[in-house]
């Protein structure tokens, strides 16, 4: 089973999902991010899903969970790079990922995390 790497960039964590994940991989990622926030005192988590061709309800719920868990731990999460076809499918599925901050790309996402850190 593959483990998604978590990179540290200053006070932010950067997660790039590039594989078609098994359910367990996604669950492990959730745990890893929570531990990493705690270990590093991270303020922000950026999850790059621009390589994902599909986001189903399982991955969708994973993203919501990560966002909720990070918030409780004091960090902001931004999901970036949702592809148009994926966005259209998510809407049709009825998953609006409420509560999850999103941005068009990594650059915008980082700007959002910086703004959140300053505001906090």
């Amino acid at each position: 089973m593959e483990r998604i790497p978590i990179l540290r960039m200053g006070k932010n964590l950067l997660v790039t999902i590039q594989i078609d994940m098994q359910d367990q991989t996604a669950l492990t990622l959730q745990e890893d991010i929570a531990s990493s926030i705690e270990q590093n005192g991270a303020h922000g988590v950026l999850i790059d899903v621009s390589a994902l061709e599909m986001v189903d309800s399982f991955i969708g719920r994973m993203l919501v969970s990560i966002s909720d868990i990070s918030r409780i731990l004091g960090a902001t999460t931004v999901v970036v790079g949702i592809r148009p076809a994926v966005a259209i499918t998510l809407v049709e599925l009825g998953l609006s990922l409420g509560g999850v901050k999103t941005a068009l790309n990594v650059e915008r996402g980082m700007q959002m995390l910086d703004a959140a850190a300053r505001g906090a």
Binding site: D23, M54, L95
Partner: protein, 141 residues
């Protein structure tokens, strides 16, 4: 590419087991290869793969395992893909409820069912408590 293409030749009809979560990933790869072959648009591909992922997961997680069968369809010049997800699991007691409430209560089963229904052109489900469930979905090009 996040979802790998099939390494071996895929026939126009066939079946694949859905025993554990690795099979869910495998099912996605199969559907991706088939939809590309049928020249579905990017959005049509994504919808079909996502629907397949939902139903495959249902079969594995709630149905105790099962199989996915596929068939490419041709009606004159219209091309399509039909997928069947069958398990010998507990069955669904109230399909109507699963299709509507299942969504709002956030239970995985209902989510997968009602969600997939919206992603495809044809949706059929036959289920019997204690015997199992079969969900068939079809998307036309």
């Amino acid at each position: 590419m996040a979802i790998p293409a099939m390494a071996t030749e895929l026939a126009d009809t066939g079946s694949a087991p859905l025993k554990d979560e690795r099979d869910i990933v495998h099912a996605r790869a199969i559907v991706r290869t088939l939809t590309i072959r049928l020249k579905f648009s990017l959005v049509e591909q994504t919808k079909m793969i996502t629907a397949a992922s939902e139903l495959a997961r249902n079969a594995v997680v709630y149905g105790g395992g099962g199989e996915m069968r596929w068939e490419t369809l041709a009606e004159g010049i219209r091309k399509g893909l039909r997928l069947h997800f069958e398990d010998k699991g507990p069955g669904i007691p109230d399909v109507e409820q699963a299709l509507t409430d299942g969504w709002t209560t956030g239970s995985g089963l209902g989510m997968g069912l009602s969600g997939s229904k919206r992603l495809v052109n044809e949706f059929a489900i036959s289920t019997k408590v204690g015997e199992g469930t079969c969900v068939s979905i079809t998307r036309w090009k």
